[in-house]
Amino acid sequence: MSRAIVEVKNLTKRFGDFTAVDGVSFDIRPGEILGLLGPNGAGKTTTIQMLLGLITPTAGSIHMFGLDLARHREEILGRVNFSSTYISMPYSLTVEENLRFVAKLYGMSDVARRIDEVVKKLEMEEFRSKVTRKLSSGQMSRLTLAKAILTEPKVLLLDEPTGSLDPDIAHKTRALLKDVRRSAGLSILYTSHNMREMEEMSDRIIFLQRGRIVAQGTAQEITNRFGKSDLEEVFLKLAREQ
């Protein structure tokens, strides 16, 4: 197995007396999709925000591409992107203006061609000239996903990326992500509350509870370990034990 592209060791985040993430360690290999699962407040979003350099860990280390995030923020974040149901893009700009802004921010060349490609892939032609304020929540999710893959990252952090998409677009988005993963060797950290989606998308899954890893392995390994028939039953069991 090739060397991990993301290496997280003993990652801990404390806010006063509250420990949001408690000694979490994992890695992501090139081209792998790692699912991050857990109930609300388990520490998934805090973990992703630490991986993006938005929150400083209390302890532990994050290495990507063999570099320490604390010391090589710019080099690392230029090759990483993210999408989340909980973020937005500037409302007063059109979809195309937003994408152009992101492309310039990441210093991309051949911006127009790349925007055309992404717009086509995510079926955004009909609203590419629309002001972002007027987008539906599904269209907004596609825009944030578009901005994430536009910059051709090597690591993608996706926090509930299909959360507000209809089943058809959600299905197409998953297919697109798998395709991008295959063609670009993209490594993905993926969170979702849709257990079927997690089973379909993830090569491995980490189950977080109260900031700690309580289970990890393939979906099959985790369900077997807990003696359940699927991931949803495992989720309910663990979540209700809280």
């Binding site: 400083t56 500037p90 921010l105 210093g107």
Partner: protein, 263 residues
Amino acid sequence: MKLHRIAALITRHLYLYKRSLPRLMEIFYWPFLDLVVWGFITVYLMRFQGQLPGAVTFFLGALILWDVLFRAQQGITISFLEEIWARNLMNLFASPLTPGEFLAATMAMSVFKVAAVSMVMVGAAWVFYSYNVFIIGLSLVPFVLNLILTGWIIGVLTTSLIMRFGQEAEVLAWGMVFLFQPISCVFYPLEVLPAWLQPVALANPAAHIFEGMRIIVNGGTLPVNHLVWAFGLNLVYFALMVGWFHRTFNACKERGLLVRVGE
């Protein structure tokens, strides 16, 4: 510091002005309204010119120059607020953009605002009141540059406070600069202030700028001492404020506030 990232952020802010009437009003309407009100006051006071010391017309010049400082501050603070309102801070700071590049872009935006607002005000003062701000001459240039620097200092201070204290501090974007107005001696000379307040005012670069301008308008020569004091104080405060901004930025990342600012 990468120029393409600064340019990207400037472009993003300039896009906003393409189709936003309120943002255009901020540049064209409010400064114009200010000028009209102060213009009438000046016209009224000029009737008593003989009874009042100094040049009453300095009010209009002072107003235009105060707006330079005000817009320079707003250019920084409002640019930051725009990112909060658009929930775009995460997108920015999860990218390779550094806090220094962010500040540089907002400073460039403030220069754009100052230039646009100044053109409107200088033109309107000329057309409606036959007031020519350029009577001050070439010495206007170093004074204006110093005012922009002072505006940036207040802008960075305000932005840091909003980042640290969130939504409840947003009102400072419009109010903070007026905290400094009484000790900036914009419309009155330093000697009007009580004796205990004068040293405080002299620690404010803006007071040196407006005192110096008054000397020129009253026919004096370029007051180099005021200019040197203003520039020296500006440099010290600017270095301190940028340092404090970085410190606040890191503290917000420690406390998880950066991802929650504006909530």
